[in-house]
Symmetry: C2
Amino acid sequence: MALIVQKFGGTSVGNTDRIKNVARRVAKTREEGNQIVVVVSAMSGVTDGLIKLAKEIIPLPIEREMDMLLATGEQQTIALTAIALQALGIPAVSLTGAQAGIVTDGVHTKAKIKNITPKQIQHLLDAGNVVIVAGFQGQTAEGQITTLGRGGSDLTAIALAAAIEADLCQIYTDVDGVYTADPRIVPGAKKLNEISYDEMLELASLGAKVMQGRSVEFAKKFGVVFEVRSSLNDNPGTIVKEATASMEDVVIRGVSLDKNQAKLTVVGVPDKPGTAAKIFRTLGDAAINVDMIVQNVSHGGGTDISFTCDKSELLKAKTVIETLKASTGFKAVESAESIGKLSVVGVGMKSHSGVAAKLFEVLAQESVNIDMIATSEIYISVVIDLAKGEQAMRAVHKAFLE
Amino acid sequence: MALIVQKFGGTSVGNTDRIKNVARRVAKTREEGNQIVVVVSAMSGVTDGLIKLAKEIIPLPIEREMDMLLATGEQQTIALTAIALQALGIPAVSLTGAQAGIVTDGVHTKAKIKNITPKQIQHLLDAGNVVIVAGFQGQTAEGQITTLGRGGSDLTAIALAAAIEADLCQIYTDVDGVYTADPRIVPGAKKLNEISYDEMLELASLGAKVMQGRSVEFAKKFGVVFEVRSSLNDNPGTIVKEATASMEDVVIRGVSLDKNQAKLTVVGVPDKPGTAAKIFRTLGDAAINVDMIVQNVSHGGGTDISFTCDKSELLKAKTVIETLKASTGFKAVESAESIGKLSVVGVGMKSHSGVAAKLFEVLAQESVNIDMIATSEIYISVVIDLAKGEQAMRAVHKAFLE
């Protein structure tokens, strides 16, 4: 008998028929002799509908009340899922985040889990129940309802798996697992049987949309092995765990393409100590996330500083930098939106040389210019022309992974 | 400065524009220097929508989970109402029934309030907030979410008013108050300025749909004076309180017509002790509420026993009684659906004789036959032909109240 946490996202519980499907899957796992804790998100559309209602009243509703409002979405799903299990004759009890003992800090709409006291869950499991916990939510030590922000339900599942020392944590989604590349772009992409936390983290931060990085970080910190798999079939998914020696035999785990980045270049920055610091502190104060940074000697004197950020923050970043023009004396700000960030990721890179050289060769063969480069022990990213992004991705995937 | 509880039903908070209206009304009361606790129901349609979802899964969903599900309706409204008050610059904090300290027994979907610990409410009021409490819900001492059943939000408001010793409890609805009769049927109906708990209780049980009897009973038990008034205008409503001497100067307070009753007659019941008891115990065991009962000598031997019950329970009642035919030896069961129960209500009746005589005279003038009669110190009810119900109601209203 194993203790398993199963998490189902908003699409998997999007209507009552799908909730019944989830119940059948849980029932099957239980019939195999396992104890199960189910974590569910709000039915797809429900959270957006609630946000719309609040914004009809005021564009920026106060966050404590948004948590009070949004927490109802998951509460509805846990009740309906418990009802669907009972309809199959399986004893099931639903718990809100608060009832499940999930204690968070008081940062409403993006609270962090401080601790979990799974006494009630254990008690209900011991009595033979499937326990269904609302994802995405918790309460402060003072009893205020909080929500965990984007990807919060995955985090709930992984944190619960750690707290109850589950044998396995399954994250059900609408894809079969983690792929070597996006199969919609790269026909030769293959599902991975396993991937390390670090690789998964890089893929998340490099634009692969399987899971939020914070959930993976949490899993890594507490050593929670989890599986990403499909709620639409019975195929085994991808196991995410600490890197093992055998994993390093594979040099590259995957290729990702982030089309959501934009590039800014501050032209002709005077060679004065502290100027670059000033630019990036100002961006940081404005809560703009800067990704890759490159500095070069400028043709017209001084240096050129280029960096990438989310496309959605491009205008804000530009405006913020313009305010520094007089005080720093740079010449101009230029921006480019049609760029793509292509990355290859793999823990095997650490012990294998020549990955960068091979990547650059492949891109040269495809006549793709490299605009910026960033590297770490487990990834290399290059900024290239967006128009050539998918072609380059297929070529790189073929060279390293097929 | 007064401490006021204001309760708004599902229609009054039916969309965000109406919620904004509620906020404006609350804001106005606050600007007049009052402390306010607001109790709200689920937005109209929300509860029915949730029930529909659950019934898509199974016709009789388990009640604990229905409470988990339905409690989200009011939780959404409290958050949206708090947001609407904050949009007006008024500090407001929402509380679920559990957070507000409302402790109930564990009878899911129709829990009874056991006690209220309004510590959190007091604390938030003292800090200058409007406090918004979810109606219709509470939690057990063990932390299970419960709902209070039909009319639950009124009950929440009145129980909170008792617990925090409010100066006034206002029940906002879509009518101007309690009328001497339904104005849609009786054009001469007048709004009452005040009415006693007992009269209000009788009107509720006799078919007037202003409020559930249990809320009025609770108010009577704890001496909570409350006002029923409209959320659509600023007209004063009807004050409901303990009967005073001056109230008894008015003989009749109102006239009601209940079109929802049906009549059953068990024909030819043998004159054996215990037979009637057996019939009504069987009905009670089947949870059928029996209202008026009349027993007469039967023409064909034995006695005829007639009683009324809700039309919706007629078929069930008939079926239950048929099962007793062999063991009790009665001859037949007859039923009539087209009946109306006309009642006149007033505490003044106690000290004034001749009300019954006057009622019978008026009905005779209108050629209305009386089928059954029931009386108490403060009401007289007669069962008549439904077709003549409204005509009779107008005549009786005119004779006693115009």
